[in-house]
């Protein structure tokens, strides 16, 4: 069983092709024919270029929590004659195949701890997510492309953080060194390549060492849970911070820890399916009640909830775990440049003002 292999840059595609015969493979790729265009995780196809040069626009969340998934299909069956008796047939759509995400980033993998808490760790276990989660391995890149919007170190992670990952990818001058971090990952590397030579191994070790020392971001989240509670009622604060918010769903959809979903039954005539789809707390309909009342009628309440959820409710509920992995996607993609670090950072300033 191979523990560590070297893949030369020009061999990456053939290695991935081989790998894809062993396991369902997802890679980060360009979503548009423009090298600076949007990127996201997609199922591997031969010849498809891996977009390793930057963090993906969309997180890898969709591998485990698709934007829309069919939970079940149903069909009413009618008796041919006594049409009155119809019976409901339900088809369970749970399925999970062994999957490898090649080229994840530490922040993205770390984000899964939040999703795990919600979907897998009880008291209610979501079988769809959990089955996929169990069957999915992550080959994670030691991240050397952090930018001014990254702040993973501020929220408990780090650019070389391998927690939750099964393989580590280190990008060297002429290729990639892929190292299995868990037993189950080792067999994946069989027959994919040779062990790296000493010089490359040395370079890789230096990179890991160097990246591990980096502190990415300077947001102080200490005490933010409490500060948030104090700020909760201070409308002025939220007016000041997020008046420019458009109430769109970009931040939540690109966010790797946002997991909110909606369930709808879509039926035509006698057949239908139950869909689970991403929802966004930025949307009016998210909290719209059947009575027509909406407890969060404006973007202020909605944005406040997003901040509160990540930096107050989740940590208070799950022993200090933050609902944010510091990937910075919401800052990068926000159409009006709202910076969540500012909103969280200012929570503690002059709380009593």
């Amino acid at each position: 069983m191979a523990v560590k292999i070297f893949i030369a840059t020009d061999r990456l595609d053939s290695v991935l092709e081989k790998l894809s015969t062993k396991i369902d493979l997802w890679i980060p790729a360009l979503l548009k024919d423009d090298k600076s265009g949007p990127t996201g995780f997609v199922p591997y196809e031969p010849g498809k270029a891996v977009a390793f040069d930057r963090q993906t626009t969309m997180s890898l969340k969709k591998v485990l929590l698709p934007q829309v998934e069919t939970l079940l299909r149903f069909e009413y069956r009618k008796e041919p004659e006594g049409a009155i008796n119809s019976t409901l047939a339900v088809e369970d759509r749970r399925e999970a195949r062994p999957t490898l995400v090649f080229g994840a980033r530490p922040c993205d993998v770390r984000a899964l701890t939040t999703l795990d808490r919600v979907f897998s760790n009880g008291p209610y276990v979501d079988p769809y997510y959990t089955e996929r989660r169990k069957n999915t391995l992550f080959a994670t890149l030691v991240c050397r492309q952090t930018d001014a919007k990254c702040f993973c170190s501020s929220v408990g992670g780090g650019p070389a953080d391998m927690e939750g990952s099964h393989l580590r990818i280190v990008r060297t001058d002429d290729g990639y060194i892929v190292e299995a971090l868990t037993k189950e990952a080792q067999s994946l590397l069989d027959n994919l390549g040779d062990a790296p030579d000493a010089s490359r191994e040395k370079q890789a070790a230096e990179i890991v060492e160097e990246v591990s020392r980096r502190r990415v971001g300077d947001l102080d989240t200490e005490g933010s849970a409490e500060a948030f509670r104090k700020r909760f009622e201070q409308t002025d604060y939220w007016v000041q911070m997020v008046s420019q918010c458009l109430s769109c769903g970009v931040c939540t959809y690109v966010c790797p820890t946002c997991y909110c979903f909606s369930i709808t039954d879509e039926a035509e005539n006698l057949k239908g399916e139950r869909l689970r789809s991403w929802d966004s707390c930025m949307f009016y309909h998210y909290t719209l009640e059947a009575s027509g009342h909406n407890p969060r009628p404006t973007k202020l309440e909605r944005y406040r909830n997003r901040v509160g959820h990540k930096f107050s409710y989740i940590p208070e509920r799950y022993e200090g775990l933050l609902g944010c992995c510091g990937c910075g996607r919401c800052i990068r993609s926000c159409p009006v440049s709202i910076d969540i670090r500012q909103v969280v950072g200012h929570l503690k300033e002059n709380t009593n003002e």
Partner: protein, 166 residues
């Protein structure tokens, strides 16, 4: 009836083979064109069978999005028909419709949807023969165009293309 009557000028009955699968939806105003289609029926003017008619009160009720929705979700043809301009039962409904339908007609091809699959026309309740002509010509056009390729699969989940560049 003489030989030049509309009955005999209608096409021979469509064979099962070429009607199969082609579906055309018609949005007809209740006062004129639906009546025109009735008149055509009363006069036994033979027509192709592909058309399925939705009765609407007035072409003014026609949201262009009904047409867009039908074509996007795979109807092979969409026909909108109402009272002749100035004859609207509601006086001006078809004036609104005319602008909206025309704008859509010009817009569809930009999105890659064949605009020949959409036609709007004015047929009065007395014009059974005109209705026969409209239906026959439009159906023939759609048969020539064949099934609507649509814009993509109606899957619940991301389409195959959405997993990246093709």
């Amino acid at each position: 009836m003489t030989d030049s009557s509309p009955r005999s000028s209608a096409p021979a009955d469509q064979t099962a083979a070429n009607t199969q699968g082609i579906k055309i939806v018609g949005f007809l105003c209740n006062w004129c064109s639906y009546g025109g289609a009735d008149t055509a029926g009363v006069c036994r003017f033979k027509q192709p069978t592909d058309l399925r008619i939705v009765r609407i009160p007035c072409t003014g009720r026609m949201d262009p999005l009904f047409v867009a929705k039908s074509l996007i979700y795979g109807m092979d043809g969409v026909l909108v028909s109402g009272c002749h301009p100035r004859d609207c039962h509601y006086a001006v409904g078809n004036f609104y419709a005319r602008r909206r339908m025309e704008a859509l007609k010009l817009f569809l091809p930009f999105m890659g949807i064949d605009t020949r699959r959409f036609r709007y026309t004015w047929v009065s309740a007395s014009e059974g023969q005109q209705w026969q002509k409209v239906v026959t010509e439009f159906s023939e056009e759609i048969h020539r165009l064949g099934p609507n390729p649509g814009v993509g699969p109606r899957s619940g989940e991301n389409s195959k293309i959405s997993n990246g560049l093709r």
